[in-house]
């Protein structure tokens, strides 16, 4: 082994010993495999409606509320975004089957440029996530059963 190889080898061992991948991070990565096994591939929600696109539309659910509806095979995501404080939004909504039945249990993840905000799907398929940064987001739904799906990035 060369001197450089030895040093890089030592550094590699140092990193592995002193700074290993956190077990919880590995578990989360493994979970993606379960999701893939459930659906074989990431599925993309299609945007069906966006109250922000309706010119002059008033908010349906309250002042400043924006409603979006996404769909993917067998699933409908009904999402509401409400300003919470400057630069932050409160997201709430529900994941339903195509027949309108709630999809209980699972995780909803709002991905944004600085990280993620997470919430749980309750027994009625509902969720609420606070402090979602205004700006580009993508929503990932990971129901306990069935495939997971993700929206394209949009600006909220």
């Amino acid at each position: 082994m060369t001197g450089a190889g030895t040093e890089l080898g030592l550094l590699g061992r140092l990193f592995r010993a002193a700074d290993p991948t956190p077990a919880r991070a590995v578990s989360r990565a493994y979970r993606l495999g379960r999701d893939l096994a459930g659906g074989a591939a990431a599925r993309r929600f299609v945007l069906l409606s966006d109250s922000a696109d309706v010119s002059g539309a008033g908010s349906e659910g309250g002042e400043g509320e924006r409603g979006l509806v996404f769909a993917v095979a067998g699933r409908v995501l009904d999402l509401a975004l409400v300003p919470e404080e400057p630069g932050l939004l409160r997201a709430s909504g529900m994941l339903l089957s195509r027949s309108g039945q709630p999809v209980p249990g699972g995780e909803v993840v709002f991905r944004h440029p600085a990280g993620t905000r997470r919430g749980e799907l309750d027994a009625g398929g509902g969720f609420r996530v606070r402090a979602v940064p205004a700006g580009p987001v993508s929503v990932l739904l990971r129901p306990r059963t069935g495939a997971w799906a993700v929206t394209d990035w949009f600006v909220c």
Binding site: G3, A4, G5, T6, E7, L8, G9, L10, L11, G12, R13, L14, F15, R16, A17, A18, D19, P20, T21, P22, A23, R24, A25, V26, R28, A29, Y30, L32, G33, R34, D35, L36, A37, G38, G39, A40, A41, A42, R111, H112, P113, A114, G115, T116, L140, V150
Partner: protein, 199 residues
């Protein structure tokens, strides 16, 4: 120069990718196990904190899951993962307006809670601490380059150049310069004799 990848290894990766695309959860875990060190190394090389690196780690695997069907060359997977981790890290850094790499500044203090296992005991050895200190005194770019090369020793210079976004011809000279500086720092801190003994 290092070889690109061992033939058997790349063949195995190609098979794993096909199995994952077919919904094989076990194959996905194998992919994570096989490439986790590279992804974590790249995430740490370009992230300011372990918490940021965890976000980058997850975003990288999520991106792979989303783009697996587009991956044509399994051999290129490690490079793709490093590139993705670097981009995710820089995106996060821009968003948080922090550009400094983690390096090893906090590696002896900001480590996993792994108690008193033998590896931790070794880490506390004088030489390991000295190596960590010498590494932390390198420039950010040197830390990033050496960190990625240390966790992906089989990567070719071409893969490294693509993954880190640096000219291919500069990888070798930069690596030598960074290692030379590392040796000088080690010497200044008290020597590099018999490093194998301590680690």
């Amino acid at each position: 120069m290092a070889t690109v990848t061992e033939p058997g290894h790349s063949c195995g990766t190609a098979v794993l990718v096909r199995r994952v695309a077919g919904g094989d959860e076990r194959a996905w875990r194998d992919l994570v196990d096989r490439n986790g060190g590279i992804v974590w190394g790249a995430a740490r090389a370009y992230s300011a904190t372990r918490a940021d690196a965890e976000d980058v780690w997850q975003a990288t695997w999520l991106s792979l899951a989303e783009n697996l069907h587009r991956l044509r060359d399994a051999e290129a997977l490690p490079g793709w993962l490093v590139t993705t981790a670097r981009r995710e890290s820089l995106r996060l850094a821009r968003a948080r307006r922090r550009e400094s790499p983690a390096g090893l500044d906090g590696v002896l203090t900001e480590t996993a809670d792994d108690g008193g296992d033998p590896e931790s005991a070794a880490l506390r050895s004088v030489l390991a601490a000295r190596l960590a200190r010498a590494f932390s005194q390198l420039s950010g770019r040197c830390q990033q380059l050496l960190r990625v090369m240390a966790v992906a020793p089989e990567a070719s210079y071409e893969q490294i150049s693509r993954a880190l976004g640096v000219p291919r011809g500069s990888v070798g000279p930069k690596k030598q310069r960074c290692l030379r500086t590392l040796r000088q720092r080690m010497l200044a801190l008290g020597g590099v004799e018999e490093p194998e003994v301590a680690l």
